[in-house]
């Protein structure tokens, strides 16, 4: 008979080891090394121009999927839409630090796009 209790004990012994290893996951360490956090209200630099490529409300919620969808379209299908490209964001949101990053640190996400992609500031 395979005793349930021994199975449970086995799993309980392995779990802390795995959890411990995941805890020091460098990818995670990266994500949290900004000085961010919820310190007061979020202030974003106002973009140049009047309207975002979609409504601001929609962009706030969906810009990540929007960018990724556009990325797959551009890279894999060869369909490039000038206005929707990552490059185009820079024309109005001139500073990444004061716009994208500020919100990302606030919300605790760390997109790694700019390891490779260029953003002027």
């Amino acid at each position: 008979m395979l005793r349930l209790s021994s199975l449970v004990r086995f799993v309980l012994t392995i779990l802390p080891i795995v959890a411990g290893l995941l805890w020091v996951n460098p990818v995670d360490l990266w994500a949290h090394d900004g000085q961010g956090g919820h310190a007061g209200a979020l202030r974003l630099e106002l973009p140049e121009g009047k309207e975002c490529v979609k409504s601001a409300e929609w962009m706030r919620r969906n810009h990540m999927d929007f960018l990724k969808h556009n990325r797959d379209q551009a890279v894999r299908e060869g369909i490039r839409v000038k206005t929707d490209s990552l490059k185009n964001c820079t024309t109005c949101h001139t500073s990444r630090e004061k716009f994208c990053d500020r919100c990302h640190t606030y919300t605790g996400v760390a997109p790694n796009c700019f390891e490779c992609h260029h953003y002027p500031k």
Partner: protein, 247 residues
């Protein structure tokens, strides 16, 4: 996606198709004006013809231009440097033919083994026949480097940084992913030729010819069908699209 965006896309698509259809001269559809929306065409097969008799041994115009255009760094470690295109010197083992210097780059094969082995479909064939690495999807397993018989691919071993002379239009090379020549897709989609071809026409002796094999009026289609050309390792059955003349 909302209805509004769908419509907008459709309209843009129409405009793009119109713009791409404008032919400046027979065989010159390549140089359509940059449009708001561009799309790779499934009917095209980009290819390159290299006239080795025109390729000077000490000329590195193509490799230099490629490094500059695509932000390909040199680490100064010969075994780990990234080469999207490189000059190779070949000597006949029987000493009967003269030594030849020629550029070797990704062959954009019709049957690319790198694409066959890629577990995540990060390596893929674009509609117009260009073999690309989707750097957003590459997990860095390096199986493709094992599979490629031309040593066209490199893993990026070190972190790279953007410098003052970096090309802002192209992402920099990021460590842990596999890279290779893209035929400068970003330029192609913009109606320009690859950087190496342009440099070869300028500083070099014009050994490189680039174009659409499927367009019977194009210069390259005519040349490939009339002069004797060779491809690398035809015995492997990969059907490369880099043709060498004068070997």
């Amino acid at each position: 996606m909302t209805m509004a965006t769908l419509e907008r896309r459709a309209v843009l698509g129409l405009a793009g198709a119109l713009a791409a259809g404008v032919t400046l001269a027979p065989g010159m559809t390549l140089l359509a004006a940059p449009a708001e929306r561009t799309e790779a065409s499934a009917g095209r097969r980009w290819a390159m013809l290299i006239d080795t008799t025109q390729c000077a041994a000490n000329c590195t115009a193509c490799t230099t231009a490629c490094r500059k255009e695509n932000n390909v760094p040199l680490f100064g470690e010969p075994s780990r440097d990234i080469h999207w295109i490189r000059k190779v010197e070949i000597r006949d083992k029987d000493q009967r033919r003269p030594t030849v210097s020629l550029p070797v780059l990704c062959n954009h094969c019709e049957n690319p083994p790198c694409v066959h082995v890629c577990p995540t479909e990060a390596s893929f064939i674009r509609k117009d026949g260009i073999v690309l690495v989707d750097e957003h999807r590459c997990i860095g397993c390096r199986y493709c480097i094992i599979a490629c018989p031309y040593k066209a691919r490199s893993l990026v071993y070190h972190e790279t940084k953007r410098g003052a002379e970096s090309n802002p239009d192209v992402p920099i090379r990021s460590k842990g992913v596999v890279e290779k020549c893209t035929f400068c897709v970003h330029r192609l989609d913009n109606g320009q030729e690859p950087a190496c071809v342009e440099a070869c026409k300028g500083e070099g002796k014009g050994a490189m010819l680039f174009g659409d094999l499927n367009d019977p009026r194009s210069e390259i289609a005519k040349r490939v069908h009339t002069v004797a050309t060779k491809t690398m390792r035809p015995d492997l059955g990969l059907k490369p699209r880099i043709y060498y003349q004068g070997l």
